[in-house]
């Protein structure tokens, strides 16, 4: 399979400088990025297999002696390329706050309790159909210092590997109908409404397990699609 990575697809991404999110002001390149051809170095990328993960790495409710507090949820979906074909054997990593909105990270010291039964990190590898599944608890909203009374909408951080280093994606999965969406400069750094919607999971009643856990579906579409004869003519 020989994929190409059209740069027009990146129009869905936020701009490097998005002043509403203040930390971008000093951490975004000020000079134009240089356009260079994709070589073997960009068209290849790390490959991980099932040896990269261990049992329960994808079940964040089973990593400690007891069960974490919070709403138990299933988060699942497919990793796809731009042709909507499955990306098998893709390493998917996630991390998140606990149900109270507190990260285990040492820098997060805001006054919400840590949960001794929750770290908030997980990983898995997609199967042959590009499918992944995590069991976790719904993360809480939390305050941050970007502007007065700033709170992040509930979200789970995702890190995904695809067919090449160009497919590499770090993103955040949001939950449907969050009332904090209009106030969040990180979510709104994606200016196209349809593109923003692709970061919001859908409530998945069909896969909700009665008396046990709600389910949310989050499909992740990575860069990379099959070259057409027309594309080849351009080279």
């Amino acid at each position: 399979m020989s994929l190409i990575y059209p740069k027009q697809s990146l129009e869905a991404y936020p701009k490097h400088l998005s002043p509403g999110y203040k930390s971008t002001i000093k951490r975004s390149p000020s000079k134009p990025l240089m356009i260079v051809p994709h070589t073997l170095s960009e068209l290849t990328g790390p490959v991980y297999g099932h040896d990269a993960i261990q049992e329960n790495d994808n079940d964040l409710t089973k990593q400690h002696k007891g069960e974490p507090l919070g709403e138990r949820i299933i988060v699942h979906g497919h990793v796809l390329d731009e042709d909507k074909r499955p990306v098998p054997n893709a390493l998917v990593e996630l991390w998140q706050a606990n149900a109270c909105g507190r990260y285990v990270h040492n820098v997060d010291q805001h006054p919400a309790p840590l949960d001794p039964n929750f770290t908030g990190a997980g990983r898995t590898v997609t199967d042959a159909k590009g499918y992944y599944k995590f069991i976790t608890v719904k993360p809480g909203a939390y305050p941050w210092g970007n502007h007065p009374n700033a709170w992040r909408p509930n979200h789970i951080h995702f890190s995904v590997f695809g067919h090449s280093f160009l497919s590499r994606l770090v993103t955040q999965m949001y939950f449907p109908g969050d009332y904090l969406f209009p106030y969040d400069p990180i979510f709104n750094s994606v200016t196209d409404e349809k593109a923003r919607a692709r970061m919001i999971s859908t409530f998945d009643l069909e896969n909700t397990v009665p008396d046990w856990a709600l389910a949310f579906r989050f499909d992740i579409v990575l860069r990379g699609r099959e070259a057409t004869p027309l594309d080849n003519d351009e080279h």
């Binding site: 490097h16 260079v36 996630l94 285990v104 820098v107 280093f165 770090v170």
Partner: protein
């Protein structure tokens, strides 16, 4: 219109998930309880070639160190082969993955131990000088930025098809410098913004 999932920032709290045993001096015990998938030491027992150490500081537009940054590197082995199906040449170092990850510490410093990569084919079959693809993630970065690391002791830099596209006065930002008096240690500082801003690629 393509429908890829947009990028979002890695945020300030990735370390316990992505680099738990790395340089997270944020943690009083030096590491979180979660295990690493990706290490900052890429060297495998079967890897041939010259072992090198790469270290540098990442700085923002004010020249201040970025202490919550994650650097990922992707490289060929010493024979110039990538551990990937697209590179169909047989791999001599089957365990060598060529991928590493390092968080920056409180001083904004990242570090890798790896093998010096060999030359790989470039556009039109023209050889590229030994180089490493570098990808930077951080709080305050809504999307990753890519750059390349070249080595100051490689004559092939002069004819590298990518490096020679970079204006001569900015080419130096892509060169790692071998440290005098140290064995195969290279320094590669990254300036995200400012007068001596590193060249980043739109790829």
């Amino acid at each position: 219109m393509s429908e890829i999932t947009p990028s979002q920032t890695v945020g300030p709290f990735f370390a316990y998930g992505l680099t738990p045993n790395g340089r997270c001096e944020w943690d009083p015990n030096g590491s979180y309880s979660w295990k690493n998938t990706v290490e900052s030491n890429l060297v495998t027992p079967d890897a041939s070639g010259t072992r090198i150490h790469i270290e540098g500081t990442v700085r923002d537009g004010d020249g201040l160190p970025i202490n919550d940054c994650m650097i990922e590197i992707w490289q060929a082995d010493a024979q110039g082969r990538y551990a990937h199906g697209r590179d169909n040449r047989p791999l001599p170092n089957t365990q060598f993955k060529g991928f590493g990850r390092s968080a920056t510490d409180k001083a904004g410093v990242y570090a890798f131990d790896t093998i010096k990569p060999g030359s790989v084919a470039g556009p039109g079959g023209k050889p590229q000088a030994p180089h490493i693809v570098v990808c930077i993630f951080s709080r305050g970065m809504l999307r990753q930025i890519y750059t390349r690391l070249y080595f100051d002791d490689e004559p092939a830099n002069a004819s590298d098809p990518i490096l020679t596209m970079v204006p001569a006065d900015r080419r130096g930002t892509l060169i790692a410098h071998k440290q005098p008096g140290a064995d195969n240690q290279y320094r590669f500082d990254i300036r995200v913004q400012g007068g001596d801003e590193t060249v980043f690629f739109d790829i």
